[in-house]
Symmetry: C2
Subunit: 199 residues, 2 copies
């Protein structure tokens, strides 16, 4: 693994243990067991460091290409839609610290607007990839419906990771299935087309 990746993983471990407030270049040096100044050489500013961590995060939260090819080949049924959402939540729950770090970084962007353009590109890229995957999978749904599910499943993952008992979301696979039924498969009332990222 390259030195950059080793440092990025060390930075993610620092965030997992101490939160964003523990994230300094020196802390990453210590965690990676490299000489002081190494992290600064690779990532000059705090912004550079955070961007590298975020790219690494996304990589680690995204399924392998082979798994995506396999998933896209399944029958395009309602159960497959639900399974995709359940797998998404399972990935988050399997690596809670990574997912929490992603949200901590996003919240930090509110105070550090210089992070916003690159984070926006990363999230937007993930969203476009999801829409393209849906298309390849021959599943019903539009980019707008992917967006709505994103919002709701993000909300669900955050509840599960932070305060799982507050809204009683313990039976989350049933909740994920219900969201698919309501957002993708239900007969709508009045619906409004939105956005320009269409499949």
């Amino acid at each position: 693994m390259s030195r950059r990746l080793v440092l990025a993983d060390a930075g993610l471990a620092v965030i997992a243990e101490e939160g964003m407030r523990g994230l300094t270049h020196r802390a990453v040096d210590r965690r990676a067991g490299v000489p002081p100044g190494t992290t600064s050489n690779y990532f000059r500013t705090r912004r550079d460091l955070i961007v590298a961590l975020t790219e690494r995060l996304y990589r680690r939260l995204t399924p392998e290409d082979a798994a995506l090819v396999e998933a896209a080949a399944r029958e395009p049924t309602r159960d497959q839609w639900v399974r995709l959402m359940v797998e998404l939540v399972e990935r988050a729950l399997a690596q809670p610290a990574l997912h929490v770090a992603l949200w901590e970084i996003r919240l930090e962007a509110v105070r550090r607007p210089e992070l916003m353009p690159v984070l926006t590109e990363l999230v937007r890229g993930g969203f476009r990839a999801d829409v393209a995957f849906l298309h390849r999978s021959r599943l019903p749904g539009t980019a707008h419906e992917v967006r709505l599910l994103h919002l709701a499943i993000n909300g669900l993952i955050l509840e599960l990771l932070t305060l799982p008992d507050a809204l009683e979301v313990g039976d989350w696979p049933a909740i994920a299935a219900d969201l698919v039924d309501r957002i993708v498969y239900a007969t709508p009332g009045a619906r409004v087309p939105l956005g320009d990222i269409e499949r």
Copy 2:
């Protein structure tokens, strides 16, 4: 205003400017312009301080009683459902730093499980109040549907506050209306009843 509230508001201002990593008893003393040690006298531990800030946050994000009485008296139509969701998002967007602080505190609870019981009670209390409000308002919907809308609207608010351009959620009033139509008013496919907080 009581000294406790002055200190809590000062703590929220510290988080707004510097994030959780800036939140120390000394920083709150400085911000409130009180002698060093004052905040420690009122809130002995970091946990005590964070709990007080969270209670204050909730108070500041909740509408006044008079506004709730007025809102509950409106006609229980689909447009009223949508209006309630739009007002909820507007409150968050009007005080973005408060809302961001709430999520930073929730994420901190992942690393500080001693925060979880009291935060769970606060969030659960807000949820129960929302369900009771729905009932008083004679609007259609169950506790489960309030839960689903909570998840999706939380996801929407977080997108709007952190990376508004990533998923193209700029036309958020239409998105909020669409979520109400799909979650409360659409004809469902297979639906599963969930949870024990029922109206």
